[in-house]
């Protein structure tokens, strides 16, 4: 098609197209965004797959994430090194899952990871309280928060262990028609 870009090889772009929900043009645009966050660190030539990671502080200052109450959790859920820094692969993966083409199950898996603050694979009451505090910016009183947490667990917990496992979370998400449109960031 006559594209003269030298950032990726054709094989790499095909791999990205197969493994994410983005097209070639969008991948190149994403690379541009990744590069402009740290132009001195991120190389323009990715043909050799350089091992470059950007720290969390840079990523959460992106305009798409800056005002999001869960920005740290989002970035650390996609980070592979456990410290919250994202390589380009992780960066593309993050926006691919958050794009509008990603299916419900995939989004549910990552949404569960995001809301699970203490990473114990359950959304327990403490996780819920933290979620609510971030969402309401502490405008609700403590008893209202406790009441809401109890009601949420009561509604969604099916196997009676007092916290939400992934199966409970997925079941609740399947009843929410809006999940696909709200769990979506446009890049």
């Amino acid at each position: 098609m006559g594209n003269k870009q030298t950032i990726f090889t054709d094989e790499q772009l095909d791999a990205y197209q197969d493994c994410t929900f983005f097209t070639r043009k969008e991948i190149l645009r994403l690379h541009g965004r990744y590069h402009e966050m740290a132009p001195n660190v991120v190389p323009m030539d990715y043909t050799k797959d350089p091992d470059v990671k950007l720290p969390m502080q840079l990523i959460i200052n992106m305009p798409e994430l800056k005002e999001n109450p869960f920005k740290e959790r989002i970035v650390s859920s996609f980070s592979e090194d456990g410290e919250g820094s994202l390589s380009f692969n992780d960066f593309v993966d993050m926006f691919s899952v958050l794009s509008e083409m990603a299916p419900r199950e995939l989004k549910a898996i990552y949404a569960f990871k995001i809301y699970d603050f203490n990473t114990d694979n359950f959304i327990c009451k403490a996780d819920l309280e933290q979620t609510l505090n971030k969402l309401t910016r502490e405008e609700l009183t403590a008893e209202e928060i406790t009441l809401v947490c109890e009601k949420v667990i009561e509604e969604a917990d099916m196997d009676g262990d007092g916290k939400l496992g992934f199966a409970d979370f997925e079941n609740m998400i399947s009843k929410a028609p809006d999940f696909l449109s709200t769990f979506h960031i446009r890049i």
């Binding site: 493994c19 097209t23 090194d81 969604a156 028609p177």
Partner: protein, 797 residues
């Protein structure tokens, strides 16, 4: 097949300590000897676990740490808080349960997806109901220890996944790759391995492959198609207009306001396809072969508003189109001239082309509409918004990125939560009889006022059109100027648009006075009333046009007259939308900012209903004015930019909760069912039963428009006796009403069947939910037993 209850606990000897639960060998045996198990329970389990602990102790402590980086954060401190006094050994076993490692450890994900691909291959996503043994626990059914990939090492699991992926079809493979929840780097490695294996397999299969060029060309065509498909996809995505604008709008106002603009884009697409079909098959050809007609009056600016004058005898209206075969050298009526022996390249039967183009454009619109409705139905079927859990996890719109909008969203969220809590509290104390009665009376009164206003508007429109007709006759008798005559024509559309603009505000006021229980019901009720008004007024106008008792009764070419009327309605609708934006948003903002220091909100429901109304007018007018979709497209384009500018300058994000996907489904369904269906009925009636005018248009002189198609079939039958089957099909299937009854009956039967299937599935869901609760109890019981066993051991040691 009864065996002795041999409960041998297999303990894995590998270094991969991905947590293997000691599980019985044969589930059926376990089940049949459950009673004996209870008796022998503690000693057996203790013995087995002792064996396992000995194995673990033999391994160095470092091996207990899993090789995966993901599973590093094991919940020992957290677990300790929740279950105090549990020994670390039992905690380790609990921490390696599948429910705690899924999503965390790569091995667990891979084994889960291996199972999924295997199931895909076997094409059985759930066991058939006949084989369901009621007593068997579903978690252990189909559990085959030898084939369970969870027992293998990570490398084995990886190669098993690659093998499974290779055995799928390419489409399923790409879907599976896209939905695997592993990191992108690992996905790329997996893809590389799959491709490498596929290349090896193809090489190995080469000497079995057909050496014919046919087989290889299919392979190359397939590869080329795939490349083409990717190119097309990227082209489609780049051809998406307004990507940045929509991002701006959603970033500031959220998904709810965005749904209006997406709806506008959808309508633009419908109009584009209709216009393309009519342009290609009707308009261009008539433009190339213009009919002989009198020279038109000079162009003044008023034509853009009234559609009369210069536009009357132009491509815009029905009357311009000829009823003869274009490009036909054997013109009827030229007597004595012989037809040339060589046939002309393309004689073009204009009446047939006109009829079929209109029919095909409606069919294409119908298909697109039904497809859009089914897509949005699939997304949006769900329970009502009262669920608190759903609200907490799904109500926050991640698309909103502006600081002020995020703050507003936060406040709205708090308000909604408080409202939900208050609602749940008030639901527990029900209202007294007096309050309920009062509420009923208020609702009844509001509905009476609404329906009364609809009736009033309808009568007003009816009497006004009669009056305008009388005035028009007088003017014509008096011979007054063209300007006056054409200005009179604008009065009826003006009044109808005025009513359509003002009445929704009245309904909003009524809804505020009523004070419904939830704000969502308020929106639904307002939409309903608005809808009834528009439907009734449009039905009245359609009846007037078709009966021609008042409107266009004196015109010779009544179709052009009706087309002009519809053009005027479309233009007036646009003008009033502009005025509404000006006054409703700009002026209102100035007033509100002075008084209350806040901006008005964008009324999504009212605006969307206006769009639906405008689109219905276009559909009603396609037969009479083939270029009307182009006018509508222009109108929608202008509207997009005007609404966007006004939105950015004058409005704030909505404070009421708005289920974007639910409402989008409702709007597209409304577009399909009352409005498109009504337009189709109007069109069908016109084609089947109304006599076209004698002097103009492609169907002049015929009894009905449908007769042209029928006569064509007869001509075909006469000309070529080999295709009598076509005429037979036409006579027995299209004209026969029995087929209609039969199709409706079959459709009803299918609908009944699906309803029963849904009911059965709901029952199964209830049963499964009970089973999940029971499994939870089992799990707690087993955990407690495990802890008590370890405690006993520790006490003994």
């Amino acid at each position: 097949m009864s065996q002795l209850p041999s409960i041998t606990l297999h303990v894995p000897e590998g270094t991969e300590s991905d947590g293997q639960e000691p599980s019985p060998d044969n589930e059926r045996a376990l089940h049949t000897s459950f009673h004996q198990l209870i008796l022998e329970q503690s000693s057996l389990i203790e013995a087995g676990l002792e064996l396992e602990m000995k194995e673990r102790d033999r391994e160095s402590p470092a091996c207990l740490a899993p090789p995966d980086a993901c599973a590093a954060a094991w919940p020992e401190p957290g677990q300790g808080e929740q279950c105090p006094g549990y020994s670390s050994a039992s905690l380790q076993i609990l921490a390696s349960m599948p429910s705690r490692t899924i999503g965390r450890s790569l091995g667990a994900i891979i084994s889960q997806y291996c199972n999924r691909t295997a199931r895909l291959r076997r094409r059985s996503s759930r066991p058939p109901l006949q084989q369901l043994c009621r007593a068997a626990r579903p978690s252990l059914r189909q559990y085959d220890l030898d084939a369970d990939p969870a027992r293998a090492t990570l490398e084995d699991k990886w190669s098993l996944l690659v093998k499974e992926l290779l055995s799928l079809s390419p489409y399923q493979r790409s879907q599976m790759l896209l939905t695997l929840p592993i990191s992108l780097a690992e996905k790329r490695t997996l893809r590389r391995q799959v491709n490498r294996q596929r290349g090896l397999l193809r090489q190995r299969a080469q000497h079995w492959a057909p050496s014919s060029p046919c087989g290889w060309s299919i392979v190359y065509v397939g590869l080329g198609c795939r490349g083409l498909w990717y190119r097309l996809l990227s082209l489609l995505r780049t051809a998406q207009p307004w990507h940045y604008t929509l991002k701006q709008i959603s970033g500031r106002f959220g998904s709810s306001v965005l749904s209006y603009f997406l709806f506008l884009k959808t309508l633009l697409m419908f109009n584009f396809f209709s216009f393309l079909i009519l342009l290609a098959f009707v308009v261009v050809l008539q433009a190339v072969y213009p009919p002989t007609s009198a020279s038109p009056p000079p162009f003044t600016g008023l034509e853009l508003l009234t559609g009369a004058g210069y536009f009357t005898h132009s491509l815009l209206y029905y009357g311009y189109y000829s009823n003869v075969t274009l490009n036909d050298p054997c013109t009827p009526g030229s007597k004595g001239s012989a037809c040339p022996p060589a046939a002309p390249p393309f004689p073009y039967n204009m009446p047939l082309a006109y009829l079929f183009s209109v029919g095909v454009s409606f069919l294409v619109t119908c298909i697109l509409l039904v497809y859009c409705v089914s897509c949005s139905f699939r997304e949006s079927v769900g329970s009502s918004m009262g669920d608190l859990a759903v609200k907490v996890f799904c109500a926050w719109d991640f698309k909103v990125i502006q600081r002020r909008s995020v703050k507003l969203q936060c406040e709205n969220f708090c308000t909604q939560l408080k409202e939900l809590l208050a609602e749940q509290r008030s639901r527990s104390h029900s209202q007294s009889l007096c309050q309920r009665l009062r509420h009923c009376i208020v609702v009844l009164l509001a509905w009476t006022v609404a329906l009364g206003s609809v009736l009033g508007c309808t009568l007003a429109v009816h009497h006004l059109s009669k009056h305008m007709h009388v005035v028009q006759q007088e003017q014509r008798a008096q011979g007054s100027g063209r300007w006056q005559q054409e200005a009179i024509l604008l009065v009826l559309p003006l009044v109808v648009s005025l009513l359509n603009a003002l009445m929704p505000h009245l309904y909003n006021l009524l809804a505020m006075w009523e004070k419904q229980d939830s704000p969502v019901t308020q929106v639904y009720v307002a939409i309903c009333r608005n809808l009834i008004l528009k439907m009734v007024v449009l039905s009245l106008l359609c009846f007037q046009w078709l009966s021609r008792s008042v409107v266009c009764s004196t015109e010779e070419c009544w179709e052009t007259c009706v087309g002009q009327d519809l053009y005027r309605f479309v233009v007036m609708d646009f003008i009033f939308t502009l005025l509404d934006t000006l006054f409703g948003e700009l002026v209102w903002r100035l007033i509100l900012e002075k008084r209350l220091r806040q901006r008005p909100e964008f009324d999504i429901a009212r605006n969307v209903l206006e769009l639906i109304y405008g689109q219905t007018l276009t559909w009603l007018g396609i037969l009479f004015a083939p270029l009307l979709p182009a006018v509508q497209m222009l109108k929608l384009l202008l509207l997009f930019y005007i609404k966007k500018t006004s939105l950015m300058r004058n409005c704030q994000s909505p404070s009421k909760p708005w289920q974007a996907s639910h409402m989008s489904t409702i709007f597209i369904t409304l577009l399909c069912f009352p409005f498109f269906l009504g337009a189709t009925i109007f069109l069908s009636y016109t084609i089947w039963s109304v006599q076209p005018s004698e002097t103009c248009g492609p169907f002049r002189g015929l009894e009905t428009i449908y007769k042209s198609g029928k006569s064509w079939v007869l001509v075909l039958q006469k000309s070529n006796p080999n295709i009598t089957w076509f005429a037979w099909v036409h006579q027995h299937l299209v004209e026969n009403t029995f087929l209609l009854f039969f199709t409706s009956g079959a459709l009803l039967a299918v609908i009944y069947f699906y309803i029963q299937v849904v009911r059965g599935q709901q029952r199964v869901i209830c049963l499964l939910r009970e089973q999940i609760a029971k499994e939870g109890e089992d799990k707690i019981f087993l955990m407690q037993k495990l802890h008590s066993v370890y405690e006993q051991r520790e006490r003994r040691a």
